[in-house]
């Protein structure tokens, strides 16, 4: 990756990275009934600069070290922590981007801030400004490494290999197993494409199309074969069977049209949507069939260029 791409990527990560992925979920809290005389150890542990006061998982205030020292100095008699707590502290949402958390913390000059679930108001974590950078950096490091691995995989195949054309072919046989246990080929294909480092949306589309086709093979054709080709341009999935064939392809493609028998319907299929789903997932889709000979599906999904 070039330096500019790295800087762009780090900036993107700061926007993409959510508070929940860098917050601490293991933190000290105080019950509102705790007395000031009892909080010393909690304050001293990990040099806490402030501790959330929590009742039934809900944040009701925070006790800062400033307030604690003030109380110590004043030699006032003991009192519940709620008497010394701050209630107008800022909080963060777990889904908030890290960059907005940083901004809020520096605007309010907060060092430690509670992360609160917006719909339940439960406290789910703590963000500490001094450690935030460390946490973000280690996260960036992980994401960056993942990306390098991904980049390596793709380039290993399509860029580093010097050949006039690079083409990876995968073959799977779909045996005539009970439809109830089918779907293994689509599952394996997803894993294979993930390992090849293809883009997530392509993998999702390929998986859905392959799965629909595999279930049709088991429902109507007594099994069949998959041939998958990956090259720098596209992903092609060709599925063939030697089943009974489809008499009217146009009709079969119509959403809602199905000849599925009861045993297929009982398994959750037979909505007449499968071929249509395959078409929706493809950039190009062709189906040919000959009665008594079999059916062939030809699916193409274009590879997204980086």
């Amino acid at each position: 990756m070039s330096k500019i791409r790295i800087a762009d990527r780090i900036q993107e990560i700061l926007y993409e990275l959510e508070v929940k992925s860098v917050m601490w979920t293991d933190f000290y809290t105080l019950h509102p009934h705790k007395m000031m005389s009892e909080v010393r150890t909690v304050m001293q542990k990990n040099r806490n600069t402030c501790v959330p006061i929590v009742l039934d998982k809900k944040l009701i205030g925070t006790l800062t070290v400033d307030k604690y020292i003030k109380w110590l100095k004043s030699h006032e008699k003991d009192m519940p922590v709620t008497r010394c707590m701050d209630v107008d502290q800022i909080t963060l949402h777990p889904q908030e981007p890290v960059i907005s958390a940083l901004r809020k913390m520096s605007d309010s000059k907060s060092i430690r801030v509670a992360v609160v679930e917006p719909d339940t108001h439960e406290i789910v974590g703590i963000i500490c400004r001094c450690n935030l950078f460390e946490d973000v950096l280690s996260k960036i490091n992980v994401i960056y490494k993942d990306e390098e691995v991904r980049h390596y995989r793709a380039s290993h195949i399509f860029e580093d290999v010097l050949a006039d054309s690079v083409n990876i072919t995968l073959k799977f046989h779909v045996a005539d197993t009970p439809m109830e246990f089918g779907g293994e080929v689509a599952s394996s294909l997803r894993t294979a494409l993930q390992n090849l480092g293809l883009n997530g949306d392509m993998i999702r589309r390929a998986g859905i199309a392959a799965y629909e086709a595999e279930m049709n093979l088991l429902a109507y054709a007594g099994g069949g074969d998959f041939r998958i080709e990956v090259n720098p341009e596209h992903l092609q999935i060709v599925i063939t069977d030697t089943g009974p064939g489809i008499p009217d392809i146009e009709q079969a493609m119509e959403p809602g049209y199905s000849t599925a028998p009861d045993w297929v319907r009982e398994l959750g299929f037979g909505a007449g949507m499968g071929l249509n789903n395959i078409n929706e997932c493809s950039d190009k889709f062709e189906i040919t069939s000959e009665m008594g000979q079999g059916t062939k599906l030809d699916i193409i999904i274009d590879l997204e260029k980086p």
Binding site: T120, G207, Y211, G270, N277, E280
Partner: protein, 112 residues
Amino acid sequence: MTIKRIISILDCKILNIDENDNISVDSVYATDLMSDVLANCKKGSLLLTILSNLQSVRAAEMTEVQVVCYVSGRQPKPEALAHGQKKKMTILTTDYSMYRACSLLHDAGLEE
């Protein structure tokens, strides 16, 4: 919405939970037809279904759904649960019917 919240709203039994149990879902899809899941269920949704065979989990896997909840007290078939565990999905069951489960989630603000 967090998984924890969904579990408490639907009073779910947990059959498998991903170790990262602070995952959340942003939408819900309810159906018993697998092609309907494949066509319409968004990535990252909660899938509610009464269909308890292996295909309920396969359809979730293909659409990249991480949380499946069986309604009307339905228990997933052993092969379905095993595949869900292998794919690190959260697998739940609730005694509420499909209709009740949907209306409770809707009242809690979860959209399709």
